[in-house]
Subunit: 156 residues, 2 copies
DNA sequence: TCTTGACTTGAAGTGTGCTTTAAGTTGTAG
DNA sequence: CTACAACTTAAAGCACACTTCAAGTCAAGA
């Protein structure tokens, strides 16, 4: 079973022009063409596209994804490089996860803050509340919001 | 203690022009000026800036952040709106967390894949390995990568 | 008072990731 | 054979979040 760009786009939930753009950027060198120049996606190309999708979700740039694709097409000589790439990506995701958890804490705190304000009719109540009266799980983030940010220790 | 734009920028780990840009976009209406027009950040402005930072981390646009700031300056009438905003944002973060976890699974699988390839000297080994020989925790994601994506159920 | 570094603004420039447009080609159904 | 939807390309356009530039102003120390 082969697919045109439009069919594959529908299948993946993206637009056809996105796939054409990826192709132009060198992300789809594995896609074959008909004698007339029409792209013919194979069933087996889906795995490539899924991996590209995941890498995008991981925040990788088009350029970096292309580098990976190029390596993969070069064959077994680049296995170690590709492994290193994914190991690095795992670290990046770990960091993103931490940031997200921290952000979630802030949002949870703000939800509590405005729920409390709503009950009282004014933000003055949560705003000026004694730390001791603030639910224990929000105390740390409240203190943090009111002081300086953790300087992001630039460790590459 | 008051700070100039450069001092505050240093404190927050951003550039001064970023803060000026935020100001221009209406994110910092609370910042006062000297008679000569120099921005004078107050100690108490730090909380605003921290919240702005968190909202950006949560993926909110400058426009949406401005709407929040505007509401906050309007006073207690907008408490319910602001609460709704953060509740919505919590949902968004939950989704992001799920996507991130899924991406992490893929990256873990790819790490295993290339570690296995490295040991064998060829990607053929992990690529053609029987599902039964693939470590149990990677089986699901492997199957998923090789078939169609979950159609993202558009639920707002 | 003068110098100097940091501040001010508006406007233009940058990088990323698409999206749209225009002009033309392909391939299938009738 | 024709019609027509879907494909092709190059190039321009867009949204976003800054960043840089140019020209000028402010304010603290010598």
């Amino acid at each position: 079973m082969v697919y045109t760009v439009g069919e594959m786009a529908k299948l993946l939930g993206v637009t056809a022009s996105t796939l054409r753009y990826y192709d132009k950027e060198g992300l789809l060198p594995f896609v074959e063409r008909s004698s007339g120049g029409i792209r013919m996606f194979q069933e087996s190309d889906i795995e490539w596209l899924q991996v590209i999708g995941c890498m995008k979700k991981a925040g990788m740039s088009i350029k970096d994804i292309r580098r990976y694709i190029e390596m993969a097409l070069q064959g077994d000589d680049t296995i170690t490089l590709r492994l290193a790439m994914f190991q690095r990506q795992r670290q990046v995701l770990q960091q993103q996860l931490e940031v997200l958890r921290h952000t979630m804490e802030m949002v949870d705190y703000k939800c509590w803050y405005y729920e409390t304000a709503q009950k009282a009719g004014t933000v003055a109540v949560p705003q000026e509340m004694d730390l001791a009266q603030v639910p224990e799980r929000f105390r740390r983030i409240r203190q943090e919001l009111r002081s300086m940010p953790e300087q992001p220790t630039e460790q590459d």
